[in-house]
Assembly symmetry: C2
Homo-oligomer: 200 residues x 2
DNA sequence: TTGACAAGTGAACTGCCGTTCACTATAATT
DNA sequence: AATTATAGTGAACGGCAGTTCACTTGTCAA
């Protein structure tokens, strides 16, 4: 039971912190959202700050689990259209999964205040995506699908604009549809520009 | 005198809010940074929230002043190398000007909490840059410097990665040099890919 | 059946939060 | 010289923040 409640607390903390930030959320609200009284939370965590630290531990562990091992590398697409499809699948997940959305928002809010949040934010928003796509593009070049070029540069040129539109979805969820369309348009523009002629 | 103090208050508020956020900053710290006692601030602002609103007013006015009128549109570069140079000049300013840095950080932190911050964040981080570069790229295409293509798409593909690296500088200022180098490398990659042959 | 422990409660505490107010000092206006 | 306005002070406020604690309840092992 204890573990279950602890996880519920962390899920609710993620929810509230990702809206108003750590400083903008108080334990009254937090426990009220959980249907308990504020003192109860101290049976599970020593302090509000410990909740924050546990939350960060979780986020770091979750990230390492999903992107840390090479097992979870997406396969190299066997066509340019396959790259678009894979991209849209990944984007569709990342902008609709509540936990992932809240994690991004929380890192966005707290990146200037907490060292670990800062480091994780850079991974999430910049280097992680670039490192994920670098081997993919290298593979596509090997297969003659993409023009020979610096795969890391291409990965950066490809993921950064997509990442910017993902941030837009976090900020203005009602623009999600529009953003998805723009991501697809950008992805097609990209294969148009970098795709090797003779492949679609 | 009053106006001067008011501006000092807003400058200090921008400084503190951009580090710890609105909720994470209290009136005591704010006034202490100004060398006065906390009650004094109420001679200039009715409440902490009014300071926040005035700060947002300022940021919106400053943005409109710098980017709102077509007068301040940068000239269309007359060479591909000119685009790189102009880019580096703009980036150099935007990542070293304290006020601009703090404004970006504050918008980053508060974008999920305040409607006006949300709207201004989208302008700052996404649409503004795109709209700034669209006519520039259109002009460069007219002059035969860039391949004919959708100038708005090119503006997006160009500005989004640069914006991502500007965010990196805000988050990890010690990586500023590295980020500048990456921006220049990306800019050169861009003119390599999109530049019309026969021009440098 | 008892005892021990984990989970939740409500009241109370300390301290800081934003804000108010009567007051003083200074400067500008008449 | 007298008056008024402005900026700043220090003490005090009500309230809410995070936290503690004695206590009740429910669960399960001994």
């Amino acid at each position: 039971m204890a573990k279950d409640t602890k996880e519920r607390i962390l899920a609710t903390a993620l929810d509230l912190f990702s809206q108003a930030g750590y400083a903008g959320t108080n334990v009254r609200e937090l426990t009220a959202s959980l249907g308990m009284v504020k003192s109860s939370i101290y049976k599970h965590f020593e302090s509000k700050e410990e909740i924050w630290n546990a939350l960060l531990d979780n986020m770091i562990a979750y990230y390492d689990e999903r992107f840390g091992s090479p097992d979870h590398l997406p396969p190299v697409p066997d066509s340019l259209e396959g790259l678009v499809a894979m991209t849209m699948r990944m984007v569709d997940f990342t902008i609709h999964d509540e936990k992932v959305i809240k994690t991004r928002k929380l890192l966005t809010i707290e990146q200037f205040r907490d060292e670990r949040a800062r480091a994780l934010a850079t991974k999430h928003f910049l280097t992680g995506l670039r490192e994920l796509f670098t081997p993919i593009f290298a593979g596509m070049m090997d297969r003659g699908l993409l023009r020979r070029d610096d795969p890391s540069m291409l990965a950066f040129a490809y993921t950064a604009p997509i990442s910017a539109l993902i941030h837009l979805c976090d900020r203005e969820p009602d623009k999600t549809g529009e953003a998805m369309a723009q991501i697809e348009a950008f992805s097609r523009h990209f294969i148009e520009v970098y795709g090797e002629v003779g492949h679609d």
